[in-house]
């Protein structure tokens, strides 16, 4: 317990240093935050502006799409803020420059240092935008306001944070072996995020099945959303499957950290 408290205070101090350094160039930081916000805003606007012309997307209304899109974006941005240090481009830069070796020398837990090594404050406005999109969806989509709904939505977001965080950890660990081909992980991370931003029945059955049974992305928010909106689950899955999402994420994260430990043991540095 005392250990956890010490770790948390250490994490807070590392983050404090990051936040102060990011405030050094204020104008640039503001533009960076605005640019980061604008990327999401532009992508969402592109969808929101064309939807009226088409009426809906695969039988889903604008509000229902907002719910799916917003949940995925909210979880992904929160995950990006928390797990940014594990993202392959960041970690591989540390590995190549040799600064990862200095992490190992410091009297602080390695994983904690990586967690605190890239805390991008500029993503905070995106969190607000994503929350607003979810809020709009919640207000206008036909779902019951109940403690069960709230619990399932919260669990879904936490599950997604764990799931994508796990993918970031796996991608980061791979950079111990290879600096190339980390872009392959982008298919799963950024691709996975985009994939679950839309109702998954718009994809071919094989693609949806891969991302349901092989990579359990459908359990994260799509099945819970179907359940809350009173829509039937695909493939005749029992209703209970909609509640499994919160389990899929932590399982992926636990597996990812097991892989991380193997990677750290294997780590040899690059000789720089």
């Amino acid at each position: 317990m005392a250990d956890l408290k010490w770790h948390l205070s250490l994490y807070a101090r590392l983050l404090g240093a990051q936040i102060r350094s990011q405030g050094a160039h204020r104008t640039s930081f503001l533009l960076d935050a605005l640019g980061s916000l604008l990327i999401t805003a532009a992508e969402f606007a592109a969808l929101a502006l064309v939807l009226p012309r088409f009426g809906g997307l695969g039988g889903w209304s604008f509000a229902e799409i907002c719910l799916l899109y917003g949940l995925a974006e909210l979880a992904f941005v929160l995950m990006d803020i928390l797990f940014g240090g594990f993202d392959a481009p960041n970690l591989s830069a540390h590995v190549r420059s040799g600064s990862f070796s200095t992490f190992l020398l410091r009297p602080a837990p390695l994983t904690l240092q990586v967690f605190a090594s890239d805390f991008a404050l500029r993503r905070l406005p995106r969190v607000l935008l994503a929350a607003a999109i979810v809020g709009y969806g919640l207000m206008h989509a036909p779902l019951a306001a109940s403690p069960e709904t709230a619990a399932l939505l919260l669990a879904s977001v936490l599950g997604m944070i764990c799931f994508f965080g796990g993918l970031f950890v796996i991608g980061g660990t791979l950079t111990f072996w290879t600096v190339d081909s980390v872009e392959a992980m982008n298919v799963l991370t950024y691709g996975g995020r985009t994939l679950i931003s839309y109702p998954m029945d718009i994809y071919g059955a094989w693609l949806r099945r891969i991302f349901t049974y092989l990579i359990p992305a459908a359990f994260l928010s799509y099945l819970p959303a179907l359940h809350l909106l009173g829509r039937p689950l695909p493939d005749g899955l029992p209703e209970g499957a909609a509640l499994l999402g919160p389990l899929a994420g932590p399982l992926v994260l636990a597996g990812a950290f097991a892989f991380w430990r193997v990677g750290v043991r294997h780590y040899q540095g690059t000789g720089t």
Binding site: L31, D32, I39, A42, V50, L57, R122, D180
Partner: protein, 281 residues
């Protein structure tokens, strides 16, 4: 800083040798793209996967409608294939190379060359763009052709207009990217400015959705910006949404914006170089 060194031979450079430097620079820019084939392959796979998702979203939007805003579902697939093919060639996700050269002071060695700074970077980017088009663009079109089938320009005139439009879209896009990178002369950390600009570019050039699908007012506002000329004009010429007189007018708009941005770039670059102070060391 503003005086150019004398040409190496002391005399007037012939027209041929004046073109020799940009040609060599462009060739090197082209060849450099092939240095990491594995990374390019993974990039292609990632882009193809995103293409797959985008096609699914567009087809779901169409539903059973045979045509929306001049686009058939097959046109929409072609549009997606083209946008995915041009991402790297047109650097639609951003480009910070010149910014980096200014921040690191490397721009001074560019200034020592017997060529214009803008011309030198344009030649380099032309080579880079062509390399990316060969390495990632053409394979992407092939993937789309095999999986879904593409619509191709209907005849020699349409092909000529498309090729002209691709060249202008590259030139216009390059000048816009270069102009944004010039912010480095005024700010020590202009990356944020760049990210802001690339987000505008993604929406405005029709990369995220065909501009024809947007509401009238939004499109009218965009028509006053150079963004549609950086991608959307080319796509509409290719799929045949823009034809006849409108096609020539669209090409004219691209050319006009290219000239306007060229002047703006030269003006900004001159002002920026006057401000330039490079740290010694």
């Amino acid at each position: 800083m503003t005086t150019m060194p004398a040409p190496p031979m002391g005399g007037c450079l012939s027209r041929l040798s004046r073109l020799a430097l940009p040609w060599a620079v462009a060739r090197l820019g082209f060849r450099r793209q092939f240095a990491y084939p594995q990374a390019a392959l993974w990039g292609l796979i990632t882009n193809a996967f995103f293409g797959l998702l985008r096609v699914a979203v567009l087809l779901a939007l169409f539903g059973t409608r045979p045509q929306v805003a001049g686009y058939t579902p097959q046109d929409a697939i072609t549009y997606t294939g083209l946008t995915q093919a041009f991402i790297m060639a047109f650097s639609l996700f951003g480009w910070f190379d010149f910014m980096r050269a200014v921040h690191r002071g490397e721009v001074t060695s560019d200034l020592l060359r017997p060529a214009s700074l803008l011309g030198f970077w344009a030649a380099q980017d032309a080579g880079r763009a062509l390399g990316q088009l060969v390495l990632r663009g053409l394979p992407m079109l092939l993937i789309f052709q095999v999986i879904w089938g593409l619509n191709w320009p209907p005849g020699p005139l349409a092909w000529a207009q498309v090729i002209l439009s691709v060249l202008l879209a590259w030139a216009l896009g390059f000048l816009f990217r270069f102009l944004v990178n010039c912010a480095a002369f005024w700010s020590p950390d202009a990356v944020g400015f760049g990210r802001f600009a690339w987000a505008l570019l993604g929406l405005g050039c029709g990369f995220l959705m065909p501009l024809a699908f947007f509401p009238e007012g939004f499109r009218a506002a965009l028509a006053w910006t150079p963004f549609p000329g950086m991608l959307n004009t080319t796509l509409e010429l290719w799929v045949g949404v823009t034809t006849g007189g409108a096609a020539w007018a669209a090409l004219g708009a691209q050319l006009g914006w290219t000239l306007a941005l060229l002047l703006t770039c030269q003006f900004t670059l001159r002002a920026g170089l006057r401000r330039l102070e490079v740290a010694g060391g």
